[in-house]
Symmetry: C2
Subunit: 323 residues, 2 copies
């Protein structure tokens, strides 16, 4: 079961490996938003997203014998980079199955971290079948992107850091908005906050059309998205909440928030101008919710979860919303 | 006299106000550069540049009676924003004299921090005369951008942090490259490293055509630039090294490094892709030197000194050098 003990154990394993990312804010951004916004800048994490934490946690939790055979990941890009780099640091091989339409920068970087990248066609090929055959043939351990206790525990270390940083910043009450795909980070953070900062409540934020978590929380049971592609927020497009993550979200999280692709792009431009960090669309969804939704706490912490973005997409954000 | 005692005193005054900025690196950036590069990300500092440190140091060092009359700064933008925000935090007024051709984002932000911005024409008006008349009429204290002991002391706190962070990262020998205009930051960092990390040597980096410090160090006496404008690196274009800063640079720094505007733009694009931070051209000069000059140590620390850049300039960097 996922719990705070596993998160603290993951924090011990991650110590000296994961970066303690800063909690950033800006008086000019606050003036613009009409509330105080603090951004946990996980785009500054190794490999450019929080995914490195879960990847390191899971890879380091394998027994040395099992680990030595290598690992396998499915990923649109950020999880793959995290697994690739964590594997390299452990001296083992990694194979990463990526959709052929993943952002170029993510494919290139996953290769650059030393992983074998295997591309597949989302529309016509069965990722799970390809992965299962590969894992069987080579004895690889599958590192799932979110529905894995050690991955949830690794992402939960963000929540431990937020609890401490919020206390230092004098924040005791409020909401912590997360960019939510399958819910691994949201679940981990919710568990950590429940233990270490009970005045802070996690709330998932999602892109329009891919708000499976918000709808599932409202319905009280798991619902799927109608579409599987077509959002700028590629990093957090998943078919439905995870079997392990959803019960945690149901127990601990506030209602989901939904933003448009345009709002995510505008959040990227404001993070550029006021915080000088690079966010990708899927990593800017929580910030967009804090900027543009009314029903958010006056002091709010958001996770800027990743910054691996093709220059063309960043150009669009600046051209349309840069000031 | 500028010395380590003043820097440590400034660090005490800055404690709880300045951000401890992270020292970032990336294995993919290192592979690209052929050396290990660590970036002290001062673009994440309040107001988006290291200038906030010197501004806070100088404003906080004034006696309360003198301070109450308000402060005045000359600035192409970053120093002005630092002074404006530090003044607001002290509850006093700030007037900032800025060239009318300063980047729009810097003018807007200086105003947004509550300062009165007075624009002048670089070509036809005498900044010093305008400023002197204003200071006299209102009893304002002039906060100089670099040739001021308390400003040098404030910037020197970057060096104290680098000394600690380098030790944690296992770096004991090597060079620390700074983006150098009038030399306030370079002098402060050089003094701090000399005291706390004697294996690390500061070296100023400058844009082509505005390499007054490199030429002055080589000549052994202060030389001026031929031009006063025309570099993308607006933040670090100054007429000549400072009277207070140059002797410190002569005593403690290695030879200067020079980069082209194109190299600065390329460094911005690489920082975007691999570190997910926003650097302005003048804030990317030290990184550019680490990337593109041969005579730099195998392990090198660079200051990413600022990130206040108009979107159009950032677009150019990504369009030309983004990958």
């Amino acid at each position: 079961m996922s719990d705070i003990t596993k998160i603290r154990a993951a924090a011990d394993r991650l110590s000296g490996h994961a970066r303690l990312t800063p909690l950033l804010n800006s008086p000019l951004l606050d003036a613009r938003a009409g509330r105080q916004i603090f951004v946990k800048a996980e785009c500054l994490q190794w490999t450019g997203s929080f995914k490195y934490r879960g990847a390191w946690s899971a890879v380091s939790a394998l027994t040395p014998q099992v680990r030595a055979n290598g690992v396998l990941a499915y990923s649109s890009g950020n999880h793959g980079q995290g697994v690739a780099f964590a594997a390299r640091q452990h001296g083992i091989s990694a194979a990463v199955l990526m959709p052929a339409d993943a952002p170029r920068v993510k494919i290139d970087n996953t290769r650059a971290y030393g992983a074998e990248v295997i591309l597949y066609d989302r529309a016509t090929e069965d990722r799970d079948a390809i992965g299962a055959a590969l894992a069987q043939a080579r004895g690889l351990s599958l590192i799932k992107p979110y529905d894995d206790e050690q991955v949830i525990a690794g992402q939960g270390t963000i929540g431990l850091e937020i609890a401490l940083q919020a206390r230092t910043a004098g924040i005791r009450q409020g909401q912590v908005l997360t960019c939510c795909g399958g819910g691994g980070m949201t679940a981990g953070i919710a568990l950590a906050l429940h233990a270490d900062a009970p005045g802070l409540q996690a709330r998932p934020a999602e892109p329009e059309g891919f708000d499976d978590t918000a709808r599932s929380l409202a319905a009280g049971h798991i619902l799927r998205n109608d579409r599987s592609a077509g959002s700028l927020c590629d990093a957090i497009v998943t078919p439905q909440p995870g079997a392990l993550t959803f019960p945690i979200l149901q127990r601990l999280c506030g209602p989901g928030l939904v933003v448009s692709d345009d709002e995510a792009l505008q959040a990227m431009a404001l993070a550029f101008t006021h915080l000088r960090i690079v966010l990708e669309p899927g990593g800017a969804v929580a910030l967009a919710a804090a900027l543009f939704r009314a029903d958010v706490s006056d002091q709010v912490i958001v996770v800027g979860s990743g910054g691996n973005v093709d220059p063309a997409v960043f150009l669009t954000a600046l051209q349309r919303f840069g000031t």
